[in-house]
Symmetry: C2
Subunit: 685 residues, 2 copies
């Protein structure tokens, strides 16, 4: 077995893996048994897994730091062991047990064992106290728990180095080349493994000419990155351009029915897997926001995806085909076209025609990562297709990691959305192959856009680390309690902080998504941000643009009528009961009121308040909540490392400024339109 | 005398100086007499003027092309002659006469003679027909007829190569250096001389680090440009940064009271005038939109300007100190601060304290080159100061040279604005030293931002050449009829076009400013454009920004209350009668209604229409007028050179698209706010 050292750079923030996070387990006598009696049965020996040395290095480092020791099985009070038939042979699962003072983590594969190791660390002292536990099995909800990086190789003139990145430059690329020193990538891989994330696509779905070359002459550089991810069980993927055969290969077209195009992709796949035998596959944004795609040749998305799928299939590769397809040159005068309907219309008709290794990757809502959208009906519309739900850990519409916004509660709600009503299969069930009309073989997963960059705190706002952490935990277990996940994160990240400090963090972040919603675009109306960068309030920012994001505010009413009866008919895309719940004003949840209905400012909500008064009240209260959070922070800030505290001070100053803007501009916009004063006479301009 | 050849590049459009423009005069026998009997009196011999060889080259080229000849005085039917005591020794003036079949242009200096030559060319056959003319004197209205180029040396990441430039790159700079080949500059100089423009500042008033070096190691490159302008009587100026002593000179500050700072500028001036003996002076944007200035040291604009003036005074240099100073980080909630008041507040208190060679350069209106603003009260508020009125030939807010908009009528109206009522001194009078409270010694002039770039047609839209042409003609004679100027331009530029074609051009361009106003921001409300680039409709684009440009539209009313009685008090800055005319709703001109008053949509205009119906009617009619212009164009387009016609086709397509957007978005915005339908039931969304 090769030996490795843990990638730890003291100049970079340790996130939730400081040395102290291993103090409980690191003080024990630990045995690691990587051979199994069954290994001679012709199965690959787990001791030769690329993850095995990582486990050894983790255990050695933890015991060295905290007074424990690596010992033989007989002397151990902690045992990490391979049993090939454990956990139904799911290589990522592990079993936890505690009997007769011995704590055991057992897995069928070192990957599961590594996840079990981080589980032990997370449990801390609790791993070793309390009643016996027998065979508590931990199995990831789905095999696909992925992060997409929208990293460009060089600084893009409009989108910067990382598109929708708010944490500095790329950890992979710098000035047009793959970084020489990939230590940050190794640290990142370790953070991801510790929360169960197992796949990463390293480059932007908007693929430029330089990034195309990652498939070609720059492939050895991709292999270097894959080498760094591999010891942590993280598989590398690439985003590719549909136009690659033309721009890179010099072919006359990229028609999926052109045999030369398939041959080109087959050759490309052969090249990639030769360089990276455990490569994951390709992510593709086609016929979307100006990116090339099969439409140019009169072919469908299924035609395109299946051609690519055929090229990667012999290697066991996946094609992540994004469903973010809509008309981005819409006419605002046209109230019939509804961008929210687009993904369903483009993909639902092709259900059952996608190859087995195509994963249709669908945003969690029908629009674009807004603070409040209904769950996308498209996710439930493809029973014979593998589906991944796409989220954003980076906060494009949620404050650019300048605002403290914890998203665990939002994601949890969406993942557990029951598409056929209370108790029915959820979004999480569907992506794990549990569509009630499917046969259980079409399994996708969860993908999100990463929020990580070369910032010393990884995520710009140190508190935004909590979102990266929660993304891993929730994709592993969508039913996990997001509030407990937040506490776990805080405890691991700031072990030096008192219980008052931890309580303050909880007060600051726990309901921060709801707070952000209160002071920004209300009641599911969506957008109302500045075009392009998507930061700060601009109520009419998209109202007369080609992007298909309109609220139609006038002096009487506001909102988008998406009903079948009088509107765009979007509600028709939902199964029962939601198609009726959303359709009817009486049953539509208030928080989605303006997403589904165009209503007068005087409309009375279920709370008994008028809509306009609700807008005023939530906007005044939203800012007050931010100020309460700031006060809570100020009470405990000195418990935090000085550099963390300084960065958070700076972020809170901006959050207060920006939230004040939001409050006043949204309130003023609604007031100038409605003419209805605030019932409490607070200042509106 | 050195000989020169005319700068003519057949690959670049000839604008209004095609060979045919000289056909009438070029067919004559022409004598040029550059010596004068008085020259032995110790005056510089005009024959050694740098402009003299230009005259010879012009006459030689025209006669060679059109069958005339350069002859001795006795054989001539056209005489161009120097008489040192002519035209009150104004070196730019000339006298035209026609007696006994001899046409004479006489001037005290070759510069006047060159202007006379182009005057002859413009007259064409009319120069030689009709009754005798005796000593018709042509004197420019003011000595300062200038163009500012907002050219950057390299492509600026936000503002591009030419800030507010819509005609390609800079004719001076390319990729960070002064162009090797300055032929385009020479052609440009000739175009300018032909319409009387005599000064050019070559670089952007927002001065970057690279451009600062034009004062220093890049000075020889400026000298090369000045060498090209000089033969056409055009003086070169530079824009400079207030921070130059710090950034370029390494001083600790740029406090105008620091003797080292003055010494630095004196040394800089010595350097510049040593390299360019006839250099014009410095243009400066200080304490404006983030540019550094004397405020940082607690000094006034007068302190700053006078220090620079002292440095350039020994060389006869000028300081153009821009009055475009306002708070650009304003709070939109604050209705008391009024950006329109800023220039007056910053400069009027210092009248009488500016050095003689300081020219305070004031935008024609109080805001920023909008389609309709009142004349700036600041221009009339500085009787003891030299004042230049600043205009924009480039169409920042007037369609980016994608829309056909002729500005002669707008400029003419502003230049002739009578600040003390009908028949009183006008803006043109004031800048020429005619302020009624002044002593006549404080003389400024007219400055405008150029619309020229390295585009093959010079100005993007070939019809935008008319604005450059008109700028020269109107600065020479502000009382000239802008409609005749337009005809002169069309005749010279398109000599091949029939009278139907000329009539079509007149129909397309004659009232095009008024048409543009009809379909864009109405009734002096200003802005309603996209922030930053300023193209296309965005009614709330600036409403909640820090730029101080708000219209406060609500469901009842719109407009800015700038009255003394209830508003910002801006009307107080005007002398009588305007302070009262604008103050009172009953007398305020309708076209400035929303500039001065916040009024209900139901307000009845002098036309008898409600304001809202006027908005609808003008916006429907504005687009119709564009369509009529397009139809007129299509009827005659084949008479035009194919490349010109193709470019204009393309521009009209965009103008129709954009004007349709303007019509529908403005109408919809007003409709959604007011709730008042169009009286004629036309589509509003």
């Amino acid at each position: 077995m090769t030996t490795v050292t843990l990638p730890i750079d003291p100049l970079v923030h340790a996130a939730w893996l400081p040395a102290a996070a291993f103090s409980a387990v690191g003080s024990r006598r630990i045995a690691v048994v990587l051979e199994d009696d069954l290994s001679f049965d012709g199965l690959a020996d787990p001791a030769f897994s690329p993850v095995a040395p990582t486990i050894m290095a983790e255990v050695e480092a933890a015991t060295a730091a905290h007074g424990g020791a690596l010992v033989d099985e007989a002397e151990a009070d902690v045992l990490l062991a391979i049993e090939l038939d454990c956990c139904e042979e799911n290589p990522e699962a592990f079993c936890f047990s505690r009997t007769d003072g011995l704590v055991r983590i057992v897995a069928s594969n070192p990957r599961g064992l590594l996840y079990g190791w981080f589980h032990l660390a997370r449990l801390g002292k609790d791993a070793f106290t309390g009643p016996d536990v027998e065979n508590e099995c931990h199995t990831p909800h789905t095999a696909l728990r992925m992060l997409d990086h929208w990293d460009n190789m060089d600084v893009h003139p409009v989108m910067g180095h990382v598109e929708r990145g708010y944490s500095g430059g790329s950890i992979f690329f710098d000035h047009g080349v793959v970084r020489e020193d990939l230590t940050r990538v190794a640290q990142y891989a370790r953070l991801l493994a510790s929360v169960g994330i197992n796949r990463v696509a390293i480059n932007n779905v908007n693929v430029g000419r330089l990034e195309m070359r990652l498939l070609d002459d720059l492939l050895p550089e991709v292999a270097r990155i894959a080498d760094v991810f591999r010891p942590y069980g993280v598989t590398t993927h690439l985003s590719v351009s549909w136009a690659s055969p033309v721009r890179l290969g010099g072919l006359a077209d990229s028609d999926p029915f052109n045999p030369d195009v398939l041959a080109w992709w087959q050759a490309a796949a052969n090249r990639v897997w030769a360089a990276i035998p455990d490569f994951g596959g390709f992510v593709i944004k086609a016929d979307s926001e100006g990116q090339p795609g099969p439409f140019a040749y009169g072919r469908t998305h299924a035609d395109g995806a299946n051609m690519l799928a055929k090229a990667v299939e012999p290697h066991g590769g996946l094609i992540h085909w994004r469903a973010f397809v809509y008309n981005h040159t819409q006419d605002w005068r046209d109230r019939k076209t509804d961008r929210a309907k687009a993904a369903y219309e483009h993909f639902a008709p092709y259900d059952g025609t996608f190859a087995e290794n195509v994963i249709v990757q669908i945003k969690h809502g029908p629009l674009d990562f807004q603070v409040r959208e209904p769950a996308s009906p498209t996710i439930a519309a493809l029973p014979q297709t593998s589906v991944a739900a796409e989220f954003q850990v980076t906060t494009e519409y949620l404050g650019h990691q300048k605002h403290a916004v914890y998203l665990g509660r939002m994601w949890s709600q969406l993942m557990q959305f029951p598409y056929w009503g209370e108790g029915s299969p959820t979004m999480a069930d569907i992506v794990a192959g549990g569509h009630p009309l499917g046969d259980g073989t079409r399994i996708g997963g969860f993908v999100a856009v990463s929020n990580v960059g070369d910032d010393v705190f990884w995520t710009g706002h140190p508190f935004a680390q909590a979102n990266l952490y929660a993304w891993g935990r929730l994709t592993w277990d969508p039913q996990a309690d997001p509030d407990i996940i937040l506490s776990d994160w805080a405890l691991a990240t700031f072990p030096e902080v008192s219980s008052e400090g931890a309580a303050a963090l909880d007060a600051i972040l726990g309901k921060s998504w709801e707070t952000y919603e209160m002071y920004t675009a209300p009641l599911g109306v969506c957008f109302m941000v500045y075009p392009h960068h998507h930061y700060g309030p601009n109520p009419d920012g998209y109202e007369y643009t080609p992007w298909g994001t309109y609220h139609f505010a006038d002096r009487i009413s506001i909102g988008v009528d998406r009903t079948r009866a009088t509107g765009t008919g979007y509600t028709d895309q939902y199964p029962k009961p939601w198609r009726d719940v959303y359709e009817n004003l009486a049953t539509c949840p208030d928080e989605l009121l303006l997403f589904f209905h165009h209503v007068p400012y005087t409309h009375v909500l279920k709370s008994g308040k008028t809509m306009i008064q609700h807008v005023y009240d939530t906007h005044f209260e939203g800012l007050e909540r931010v100020k309460v959070a700031v006060a809570a922070w100020q009470g405990v800030r000195d418990e935090f490392p000085a550099d963390v505290a300084a960065r958070i001070d700076e972020r809170f100053a901006e959050q207060v400024r920006s939230a004040t803007d939001w409050r006043d501009i949204i309130n003023t916009y609604f007031y100038r339109h409605s003419g209805i004063p605030d019932a409490h006479g607070r200042p509106i301009y």
